[in-house]
């Protein structure tokens, strides 16, 4: 069984996606399972590191925080664009944030969170120095951003992944 489904979560996700896209019929269920077997076996040929989730129960909390922050920063950035950057007084800039998180999947999710939140952009991650360079659209206080990213997102991701 584990030869056919080396990544059970991926396989389940693919079958679910197939049924959502094509509508539920027994034929599509069989086809979806076939697709997920092919995808799972080809995925295992790439030998990706198997993600380890330590705390599933923290994921809803993270999703809720991120959705709320995305709404808030959408409003903030839209207001800044419409007011012409507080009438020319907005300053943007780079912030370097030292990270404790080292799990590749955790870093990928942090990059998605930071990119999906308007006003912050993930520039580059330096694995040797364990630092990420962010660009912040409305930079008032650098240390506040470091505290925000580390306290709000990284601590939860550390609990989930490490």
């Amino acid at each position: 069984m584990s030869r056919l489904f080396p990544y059970p979560v991926l396989a389940a996700g693919l079958v679910l996606m197939w049924l959502v896209l094509n509508g539920f019929t027994p034929g599509h269920l069989v086809l979806g399972v076939a697709v997920s077997i092919v995808a799972g076996v080809s995925m295992s040929a790439l030998h990706p590191a198997k993600p380890r989730l330590r705390r599933w129960d923290r994921i809803p909390q993270l999703v809720a925080i991120v959705l709320y922050d995305i709404v808030r920063s959408n409003i903030a950035v839209a207001a800044l664009i419409l007011s012409n950057g507080r009438h020319g007084r907005r300053r943007s800039g780079f912030v370097e944030i030292p990270l404790t998180l080292r799990d590749p999947l955790g870093l990928a999710i942090l990059a998605i969170i930071i990119t999906a939140t308007p006003g912050t952009a993930w520039m580059q991650y330096d694995a040797r120095r364990e630092e990420v360079l962010l660009h912040v659209f409305d930079l008032v206080d650098e240390s506040a951003w470091v505290a925000l990213i580390k306290g709000r997102y990284e601590s939860l991701l550390l609990e989930i992944f490490e």
Partner: protein, 130 residues
């Protein structure tokens, strides 16, 4: 456009509101993309369209077709997920290229690689030809 008349008012109002919010945010993002002066500032504007711009339009579409067809239509949700998950790939590619170019040119606005200057400067006022 006749099927729109079949949507009851209680559904039409939230659907229209979501559609307008999504389209409005995407529009503001596009205006920002045009008006902001530096590359790093312009990177932020389209994220309005790729976050709640997309989400608003996707939720309006899910609501509209669910009401019209009388069953939950959910596949648009996948659109939102994949737009969100794939945006960082291109964004990071563009950002790294820009940072690399600015560091090579010794542009003072980008923090240097070696001992870091105390504060990163603001965006250049004059901008750059894009």
């Amino acid at each position: 456009m006749t099927p729109m008349a079949e949507v009851p008012l209680w559904a039409a109002i939230p659907i229209a509101a979501l559609l307008l919010i999504g389209a409005g945010l995407t529009f503001i993002g596009s205006v920002g993309l045009m008006r902001l002066s530096s590359f790093y500032d312009r990177i932020h504007a389209p994220t309005l369209g790729s976050s709640w711009g997309t989400a608003g339009i996707v939720m309006a579409s899910m609501g509209y077709f669910s009401v019209l067809q009388g069953r939950p239509v959910l596949h648009e949700f996948l659109l939102g997920v994949f737009v969100t998950v794939t945006t960082p790939v291109t964004l990071t590619l563009l950002a790294r290229a820009a940072v690399f170019r600015d560091r090579t040119e010794g542009n003072p606005d980008v923090p240097a690689r070696e001992p870091l200057p105390p504060a990163a400067g603001a965006a250049p006022a004059d901008g750059e030809p894009s």
